[in-house]
């Protein structure tokens, strides 16, 4: 295995493009090093992106925030301004692993590892976050929901690398939340995860909403019907029941050791409702 730590995005793209054999990008390494250790992955080339200055930065931009691909989740959690604008995204990112894991793990790594149960991904999809991808043909911008295609698989072409994720600005009276079900209190993999982001009008009516579901399909899903169920309402009992029903209907889960299909479908509805209520409280400034 060859290790490279380029200082620029161009150099990283160059190395990835020219790589013979299996190449992997190293950000926090909390997935990659486990794969190396177990022997499930034997890369010929590992490209460490933590020496690329712009990848290590978390910066305010156009009223939102750009999170570099090498920014650890702990840094995200320590940033009061990001927590204030996108509390749901931050709470999702901070649910990943222990303090030690938080010191290394990144949301872009979480995205590119392409686990259907990745906690930060539904929250970022609800936030309508945009990934910036650098490649041999220049830069392109991709909704975060289009990066993962199946477990462990991404839409990135050879030589491409996600350099950052952009969390947009948001109107007044907006709130977001992420909830997951795990069978213990912390440090586990989501059986179901739900991200909800919504914006209220001055009259308290929901003007816009996005709902995303994790661990209920081969990749995180945007549940558009669930969002439609609450838009134009004040999230009354009827709207919330419809939201839960639509979230459950969107699920295409598998049975595995963490949960059955039936359980996941049921829990997705319950969590969608609770996450919407939490996002609503935040949008109301509570």
């Amino acid at each position: 295995m060859q290790y490279e730590a380029p200082a620029t995005i161009d150099a990283a793209v160059g190395l990835l493009s020219k790589a013979q054999g299996l190449a992997r990008v190293l950000a926090g390494g909390t997935d990659l090093l486990v794969q190396l250790k177990s022997g499930t992955l034997e890369p010929d080339l590992v490209i460490d992106i933590k020496r690329i200055p712009e990848m290590t930065k978390l910066v305010a931009e156009n009223g939102g925030f750009r999170i570099g691909a090498a920014v650890p989740c702990a840094v995200l959690g320590e940033n009061a301004a990001v927590r204030k604008l996108w509390p749901g995204v931050v709470e999702a990112a901070n649910l990943i692993g222990s303090t030690q894991i938080q010191g290394r793990a990144t949301v872009v790594g979480n995205l590119c590892n392409a686990s259907p149960a990745a906690d930060s991904v539904p929250a970022m999809m609800a936030a309508n976050a945009i990934a910036t991808v650098a490649g041999p043909n220049g830069k392109r911008e991709v909704p975060v929901g289009d990066i993962a295609t199946a477990p462990g698989k991404t839409s990135l072409a050879k030589g491409e690398i996600v350099t950052s994720v952009f969390l947009p600005s948001r109107p007044a009276h907006s709130g977001d939340a992420y909830l997951r079900f795990i069978p213990r209190t912390e440090m586990d993999i989501a059986v179901v995860g739900v991200g909800v982001s919504l914006t209220l009008g001055d009259d308290g009516v929901c003007k816009a909403a996005r709902v995303a579901l994790g661990a209920v399909a081969a990749r995180a899903l945007l549940a558009e019907d669930a969002a439609k169920a609450i838009v134009g309402t004040k999230l009354d009992e009827k709207a919330l029941a419809k939201l839960a029903e639509a979230a459950s209907a969107a699920c295409r889960p598998i049975d595995d050791k963490r949960g059955t299909k039936e359980f996941r479908i049921k829990v997705a509805g319950v969590l969608a409702r609770r996450a919407a209520e939490k996002a609503l409280e935040r949008a109301r400034g509570k």
Binding site: A5, L33, D48, R104, M187
Partner: protein, 162 residues
């Protein structure tokens, strides 16, 4: 493969070593530098026995490559005591009998020190969440939590007096 030459700082000392690209920082510390305080429990970032800080950030050294330490500042359990003077956390772990077999102890101490640097007066809840990535199969955690609380109180007192 010839290996990579790495220059880094460990517990304040300049250190140089040669390691393979796929060698973890934990293996470098233990096998090349004879710093055997950090333990390998799981090797997959679940147990925290290999906790160190890199540039002040608490991490599992089993999930860091040795080559990544180039130019960084690494702190291990070996840097906790000042000569014969134990760190307050070390003394309190002894006083409270916060260890039995001791394998997890270096990781707990490094992690607890990182907590108290960030938050000198953590609640029990905050201590338990911060240390949730450090597994202990002997103590049931209560004595560890009490030792950390006691050390924190002493360290706060010391600061007021100083």
């Amino acid at each position: 493969m010839a290996g990579t030459h790495v220059k880094t700082t460990i517990n304040g000392d300049s250190v140089e070593y040669v390691c393979e690209a796929d060698e973890t920082l934990l293996d470098v510390l233990r096998n090349r530098l004879a710093l055997t305080g950090a333990k390998e429990g799981c090797g997959t970032g679940d147990c925290g026995a290999c906790s160190v800080t890199v540039d002040g950030r608490l991490v599992c050294s089993c999930l860091v490559l040795g080559v990544e330490a180039e130019g960084r500042n690494v702190a291990t359990i070996e840097g906790l005591a000042q000569g014969e003077h134990l760190h307050p956390l070390q003394r309190k772990f002894l006083e409270h009998a916060a260890l039995q077999c001791g394998i997890c102890t270096p990781g707990f101490l490094v992690a607890a020190k990182a907590l108290l640097e960030k938050n000198p007066d953590p609640s029990e809840h905050e201590i338990r969440f911060w240390l949730a990535g450090n597994l202990c199969r002997c103590t049931g955690y209560d004595k560890i939590v009490r030792a950390v609380q006691d050390a924190a109180a002493e360290m706060r007192g010391g600061r007021h007096a100083a």
